[in-house]
């Protein structure tokens, strides 16, 4: 009996061992081939539009602070930070032994110059092994702000930008191709990969072709294509819903009638249908600017369509104006979304028409800039082009009130939060992204096919 049980266990265990992947240590070596839709013309965080190419910055540059998946500040180039006098003056101690890719050491002067270039209103100066940052008003979120990709520490020298990151540029064809090679002297430890080749400016179809032909091991996948790509047998990795899709009005409401029309529009849009039909569940309907996973209160902002109320609001306006709805003509899914929104509005008696030029309302996509809710909210407002919100304190209640106030200004109608998706080759190991959606390429390694 015991013997039989033992044999059964052995057989089961062998089966399990075959089915389970081995817990293999990371392998060093190899080149990772990546495709990106973004086509930055510059690698300078001061100039590049970072939103679509933030993954690249992490290869070349470091920030003083990094945020973990819970949004907590962790040391990076800074080893410690301390605020004085009401959070307006911060002292940031720098890590020792860090070098730029040209071998020169990181100094407080360079850090100060880099931060000043990105933040003209900050007063930044060096002192000993630290930098002092002074702000005009209390900045309790400064560590989280320092973790933003745009605050990567950069050394500018004769038109070149150098970073302290894990890779060094070996080929740069602006907007087309970037090749980076691992630095053996990186302070965080040499990366497992020898190099990364990034093809840029590729649309989703071109990326998928490259992936299927084995020419790229990591490609982006459109949110609405992620499910299908997975059912076709590809390994698809998706992020938390971290990109806001919203309608943004060009101006504040001009009259009570204008306000009512905006209210009617917000009530008429069927967000769930947009998500399930157009985006193939590539996101989550949202009535708030920040996703619920980040705040915990996002559900307070309604997402349900209410056509009856929309029609009532519309009926109280004697004469409606025609709004031009702008969208990115190069993004096919935005056109479909815009068309669906026009139809929803029509059901409520509103008149919208698609426009690729000047518009009254724009359909926009804005990635969340930070895992810190307050920093993300402030950055969202800036990206949406609305007035900087006033947050009266650092509690969640304060943030909720600020977000509620911004929504009540009727400049923005949130629609969805989209998940970023990418197809990843099965030979790519330790693939991961931060909860904010950034790729963790320095930790990736390539596995050889098992014999």
């Amino acid at each position: 009996m015991k013997r039989t049980g033992f044999l059964l266990l052995a057989a089961a265990s062998l089966l399990l061992a075959v089915e389970a992947g081995a817990a293999t240590r990371p392998h060093y070596g190899g080149t990772l081939h990546v495709c990106l839709h973004a086509a930055p013309a510059s690698l300078d965080p001061n100039q590049a539009e970072w939103a679509g190419s933030a993954a690249l910055f992490g290869l070349l540059f470091d920030t003083l602070v990094a945020l973990d998946d819970q949004g907590q500040s962790q040391p990076a180039l800074a080893t410690a930070w301390q605020a004085e006098s009401g959070n307006q003056r911060w002292q940031v101690a720098l890590r020792r032994g860090v070098t730029f890719s040209d071998g020169m050491p990181l100094t407080p002067d360079i850090v100060a110059a880099s931060l000043r270039a990105m933040n003209p209103t900050w007063r930044v100066f060096s002192t000993g092994d630290a930098v002092i940052i002074e702000r005009d008003s209390p900045a309790p979120d400064l560590p989280a702000e320092l973790a933003l990709p745009r605050n990567s520490i950069v050394k500018r020298e004769s038109g070149k930008v150098l970073g302290t990151g894990p890779f060094v540029v070996t080929q740069w064809d602006a907007g087309k191709k970037l090749v980076v090679t691992a630095r053996n002297d990186y302070w965080g430890g040499r990366t497992f990969l020898d190099s990364i080749e990034v093809e840029m400016g590729k649309n989703f179809h071109e990326q998928m072709v490259a992936f299927d032909l084995g020419k790229a091991q990591v490609v982006e996948v459109a949110s609405e294509q992620a499910r299908r790509a997975a059912t076709e047998g590809r390994r698809i990795e998706t992020s938390a819903p971290d990109e806001l899709l919203a309608l943004v009005f060009e101006r504040e409401p001009q009259s009570a009638a204008d306000s009512k029309q905006r209210e009617a529009l917000a009530l008429s849009i069927d967000r769930r249908l947009l998500n399930s039909v157009v985006l193939q569940n590539g996101g989550e309907p949202s009535g708030g600017l920040l996703p619920n996973w980040m705040t915990g209160y996002g559900f307070l902002f309604p997402v349900e369509v209410n056509l009856t109320r929309a029609q009532q609001e519309r009926a109280e306006v004697p004469e409606t104006s025609v709004w031009n709805l702008g969208f990115d003509a190069n993004d096919p899914i935005e056109r479909v979304l815009a068309e669906r929104i026009v139809l929803n509005a029509r059901d409520a008696g509103l008149r919208l028409q698609l426009a690729t030029g000047a518009s009254d309302i724009k359909l926009v996509r804005v990635p969340l800039a930070s895992l810190d809710p307050q920093v993300a909210f402030t950055a969202l407002a800036a990206a949406l082009g609305v007035a900087q919100p006033r947050i009266n304190g650092s509690s969640l209640d304060d943030l909720y009130m600020a977000e509620n106030a911004l929504l009540k200004s009727q400049r923005v109608i949130p629609l969805l939060h989209l998940r970023a998706a990418c197809a990843v080759s099965k030979t790519v190991r330790n693939w991961g992204r931060t909860r904010g959606g950034l790729w963790r390429l320095p930790d990736v390694w390539l596995a050889a096919e098992r014999p």
Partner: protein, 421 residues
């Protein structure tokens, strides 16, 4: 949220500013005290219930309200029931009573939500036909403990030795009195002693090194007879002094790392910038002095010889008996293996790692029969990736370190095998 930290302070412990070990120890003790309670109930909700009840009462005033509690979080239904009851008790103490919706002066909708860091309890209060007001309270989230699989012929036991937010490379427990524990971290060796039944940090010895450590850093502690301990890290070896207070002398070195002790002595050269052994051995096994680059090795003593098993970097397993080198390609073992003398069956088993997709890594005991592995225990689960597995100096156990995928903390375990067949 930052609101819980009103005064600006330095961030959490960092390598260049070591926090007193006593703090870590107290934190661990607190954690150990808390964990058993969290298995039954995620946390003590009383404070949060009282806090929310006060906010609700401030909004409604004393009187009759209709209260509804909705769970939008990962809390269990048992927790939700407990919270609902607790909230009622707190509200009643403040003069707020529950009635049916049609008799209530106010409607109170409590949503038990959560975000990345906290439980977020949101309450919408509506008085008559007025616009609703919102109040909320937050508390840090706790994580549930993972379960274990049932026992089988041989049982691999894991005992938690230590946990730390920074990487643990190895742990050694010298025999003798007083009882001490040595923990190898990337930048230091920390000595703990038992005081009042708990491990208490005694001394931190800095490890000096000129070059940055490679990723997937590995390190090994070796207990010595003439002094306390040696530490081996990529390109660096350190030797402690003999008498307390101890000092640590580190130097750049390509000396081979000891992988066994007499009569199973074997040393191997480790690459200074990578995470594996070069394959060159010192001394060799009889006539064999080099194998393929490998991650780990396990010894299984036989009557006439010792079978050495190498887990090589190409994913294969090499079996050495001093004369022949047999390659196995289909074993599906992980990179880390360790030999353990259990006294069960043939006396020795190999512990091997594997990955359990969707969960953490596992360790399972194997015996080698006719040059084929036979599993002799159920896999033992770890809550994340195993980053180190070394045979302990007493060879009767192994030290495993795993990074908990939920907390990101490193957890060092002593693994032992008991006979149960």
């Amino acid at each position: 949220m930052r609101g819980q930290h009103p005064k600006p302070v330095y961030n959490a412990r960092i390598r260049e500013m070591p926090l007193p070990r006593a703090y870590c120890f107290r934190a661990l003790c607190c954690l150990l005290l808390i964990v058993p309670a969290t298995v039954v109930s995620a946390t003590d909700w009383h404070g949060l219930e009282a806090q929310l009840a006060r906010k609700i009462a401030a909004g409604t005033g004393p009187g009759a309200v209709f209260l509804e509690v909705t769970n939008r979080s990962s809390l269990s239904s048992a927790d939700v029931d407990e919270i609902r009851r607790g909230l009622w008790t707190e509200l009643a103490a403040l003069g707020v009573h529950s009635v049916a919706a049609d008799q209530a002066a106010a409607t109170v909708q409590v949503s038990l939500s959560e975000n990345a860091q906290n439980y977020v309890w949101v309450t919408e209060i509506r008085l008559g036909n007025n616009e609703s007001s919102v109040v909320m309270v937050t508390a840090p989230r706790t994580e549930p403990a993972a379960g274990e699989r049932p026992a089988v012929p041989l049982t691999v036991h894991k005992a938690l030795l230590w946990t730390d937010e920074h990487r643990i490379l190895d742990v050694a427990l010298p025999t003798g009195t007083p009882q001490i524990m040595i923990v190898l971290e990337p930048e230091s060796i920390v000595l703990y002693a038992v005081q009042n039944g708990h491990w208490q940090a005694q001394q931190t010895l800095a490890i000096t090194h000129a070059r940055p450590w490679p990723r997937d850093l590995r390190g090994r502690l070796v207990l010595r007879k003439d002094h306390l301990v040696d530490a081996y890290l990529p390109g660096v070896s350190c030797q402690s002094t003999t008498v307390a207070p101890l000092a640590l002398n580190c130097r750049e070195s390509d000396d081979p790392w000891p992988l066994g002790t007499d009569p199973l002595a074997l040393s191997a050269f480790f690459t200074p910038t990578r995470n594996f052994f070069t394959g060159v051995l010192s001394p060799g096994v009889r006539k064999q002095t080099a194998t393929a680059p490998f991650y780990s090795v396990a010894a299984l003593p036989r009557d006439q010889y010792t079978l050495w098993i190498f887990s090589t970097t190409d994913g294969q397993v090499h079996l050495w008996d001093g004369m022949t080198d047999q390659t196995a390609t289909k074993w599906s073992w992980g990179s880390d293996i360790a030999g353990v003398r259990s006294g069960c069956g043939p006396g020795w088993q190999v512990l091997a790692t594997a990955r359990d997709e969707g969960a953490g890594d596992t360790v399972q005991a194997f015996e080698i029969a006719d040059r084929e592995p036979v599993a002799v225990s159920a896999p033992v689960e770890f809550g994340g990736r195993i980053t180190a597995l070394w045979t302990d100096s007493d060879r009767a156990s192994a030290i495993a370190v795993a990074q908990n995928s939920e907390t990101s903390r490193y957890e060092a375990y002593r693994l032992s095998i008991t006979c149960s067949r």
